[in-house]
Subunit: 125 residues, 2 copies
């Protein structure tokens, strides 16, 4: 089935210790400090596998990069069009899953992305 690998463990460790919704390449750079000769392909393969297994979240905000999130609970992602940041916001429940089920769809993961201007860019620009 699924064997242990220290590469996958390091990837999960790095991802669990940030709240920046990093890209595969950012994770690669960080993991290299733990396993210097890890391959970029290994990072991509593991992230893809972990996301398929539901262990992590894959967020696509349309900036040309796939972003990853260690927090798999349903929550909102606020993507700033100006600075590109992605911040989290808690949701009291999962209204998307509720609506989906009502139409006969069986949801496994729900993704919420808001596009706009973040608080920081609003006040400083």
């Amino acid at each position: 089935m699924k064997n242990y690998s220290k590469q996958r463990e390091a990837i999960l460790t790095v991802l669990s210790q940030t709240d920046t919704h990093p890209t595969a390449n950012w994770i690669y750079e960080q993991v290299r400090e733990i396993i210097p000769n890890i391959s970029l392909g290994t990072v991509y393969r593991n992230l893809s596998q972990l996301s398929q297994d539901g262990d992590i979240l894959s967020i696509n905000v349309g900036d040309g990069f796939e972003h990853f999130d260690y927090d798999t609970s349903p929550h909102a992602h606020l993507h700033c069009k100006k600075c590109g940041c992605i911040h989290d916001a808690r949701l009291e429940n999962d209204p998307l899953a509720k609506v989906a089920k009502k139409t006969g769809f069986t949801p496994e993961t729900t993704i919420y992305v808001a596009y706009g201007i973040c608080q920081n860019c609003n006040t400083n620009n």
Copy 2:
């Protein structure tokens, strides 16, 4: 500012007449039946512009393609992991926008994507 072009009009016409959340390439193929020598780059440029202006919606479900939607109202997108289809579901309100505003974020567009198995794949497979 923004000049009229029959290419952009044809793109909007095609997009408005489908509910399949097409890709740029699909739209290109359709528009070619109206304007045979239209360029794929023109389709991409207009779709990107229209989506930036808020005239259409850009949906990214992580299948490697950007999808477009003529309906800009906040609604749910149900993406089947099996057949790849994207269906709509109405939302009574816009809970994501509400939560975003509460944190100081100014939302312009909100995207809801549920991943799972559609009704059709559930019953037929």
